[in-house]
């Protein structure tokens, strides 16, 4: 065994989980990032709170405008279409290119978003798609727009006593087109650059996102006339990173017919 010692709890409902979130406890929602971090002793929490068996975090629901996914929905469930897709294929495309199948079978959308690794896919893809994160703490539930959820490098709007419960995602219209491009040195590796673009004329969306930066993903609210080279130049000091991000954005915009 490699991790430092910790206690482990497996609450069966949200109030029980919330009562455990103190003294630097870490939430385990799939463990595909936390597992390696524990093994490498990058984190040494006194307590790991495994929220995967809380039914509320594993369900999904749908209405005419939105799809709500429990935070512990696995990447593989999204990849396989076992949950409704609000995004006309964007989410299935993103999910199926995260790491490897054995990782996608356990890794979860909420865990990945809350971990907020800049090179992970969901922080960028969900900021692009739009919707809200549903958060619960002992005082009650609240919502925060997905483009404001990740606030920086491994940083989110979650406070220490918050649990990310679900994601309510906007459904795209039939006329929507999306693009998503990432540069990885090897299939399944963390990307060096991410870009996404979304054109939904019926909803007036012409958004783009640049991710795998050194902080939060950068959302371009109206990408119709944006200059990828200029956008990347504002975000990346290093010429190599600048070029990768500019090309990723150009390709994503072209796929979405926004260029």
């Amino acid at each position: 065994m490699k991790p430092a010692r910790f206690e482990y709890e497996r609450p069966q409902d949200v109030p029980a989980a919330l009562s455990l979130l103190k003294n630097e406890a870490r939430i385990l929602a799939g463990g595909q990032s936390l597992g390696p971090m524990l093994n490498l002793r990058i984190v040494q929490p006194p307590l790991v709170v495994d929220v995967r068996s809380i039914p509320e975090l594993r369900g999904f629901s749908e209405d005419p405008e939105t799809v709500t996914l429990g935070a512990c929905t696995t990447h593989a469930a999204i990849e396989d279409g076992r949950v409704p897709d609000p995004s006309r294929g964007l989410m299935r495309h993103v999910a199926s290119n995260i790491a490897y199948r054995a990782v996608r079978n356990r890794g979860t959308i909420g865990g990945s978003l809350a971990h907020a690794d800049p090179a992970a896919d969901w922080p960028s893809a969900l900021a692009l798609l739009g919707g809200v994160a549903i958060i619960q703490n002992p005082e009650g539930k609240r919502e925060i727009a997905l483009e404001r959820f990740v606030t920086g490098l491994f940083s989110t709007a979650l406070a220490d006593d918050d649990l990310l419960v679900a994601l309510r995602l906007n459904k795209l219209s039939e006329k929507a087109r999306w693009g998503y491009w990432k540069f990885c040195r090897k299939a399944g590796e963390f990307p060096q650059a991410i870009a996404g673009a979304l054109h939904d004329p019926e909803r007036g969306v012409t958004r783009a996102v640049i991710g795998a930066l050194r902080g939060a993903p950068h959302v371009i609210a109206d990408a119709r006339h944006c200059d990828p080279a200029a956008e990347a130049a504002r975000l990346c000091a290093d010429p190599y990173e600048r070029q990768l991000h500019a090309v990723a954005l150009r390709r994503a915009l072209a796929q979405a017919h926004l260029a």
């Binding site: 065994m1 490699k2 991790p3 430092a4 010692r5 910790f6 206690e7 482990y8 497996r10 385990l28 463990g31 595909q32 597992g35 390696p36 524990l38 093994n39 490498l40 790991v48 495994d50 995967r52 068996s53 593989a76 790491a99 490897y100 199948r101 054995a102 990782v103 079978n105 356990r106 090897k186 299939a187 399944g188």
Partner: protein
């Protein structure tokens, strides 16, 4: 000193109950407590795929899965697949195509290969290579492994 935790799940169809430290990985548990040493440990941070086994019917990394998190789960290691028809074909194909040399990656490769055969029956070479990208082999390279999976996919 942290408390130990009582866990109950099945390993290769057999119920097991254990009192273990929460930090015990599933890989260490099956190797050291269950003496099922077919599961190999490589990188121990989820990258190399050597420790891939099956949890509730789906491949998973046992080095980054806590044994305590397997409460109620059905775990199957490479030892459980002796009589599995797909694995039987894969073993023959791995041998015929020289898809292994030292054998260290092989249990994980077979787990992933079986998943490819069952989940993606129409996979072409490019797709097989993509799906295999989470399993590293440092001896033979991947040509033999890819050919072995193709051989099983083509077999009637």
């Amino acid at each position: 000193m942290t408390r130990t935790r009582r866990v109950a799940f099945t390993v290769n169809g057999r119920p097991v109950q254990a009192e273990l430290e929460p930090r015990t990985s599933l890989a260490d548990f099956v190797r050291e407590s269950e003496r099922l040493t077919g599961t190999n440990l490589g990188c121990e941070h989820g990258v190399c795929g050597a420790c891939t086994l099956e949890i509730d019917g789906a491949p998973a990394r046992s080095c980054i899965t806590l044994a305590a998190a397997c409460e109620g789960a059905h775990v199957r290691t490479i030892e459980a697949f002796d009589d599995d028809p797909v694995m039987e074909k894969l073993r023959e194909a791995f041998s015929a195509e020289h898809a292994l040399q030292c054998g260290y990656c092989t249990p994980g490769m077979l787990m992933t290969a079986r998943d490819i055969v069952l989940r993606l029956p129409g996979a072409d070479e490019a797709r097989i290579r993509l799906e295999l990208s989470g399993n590293l082999c440092r001896c033979t390279g991947y040509m033999g492994i890819v050919r072995a999976i193709q051989r099983v996919l083509k077999a009637p």
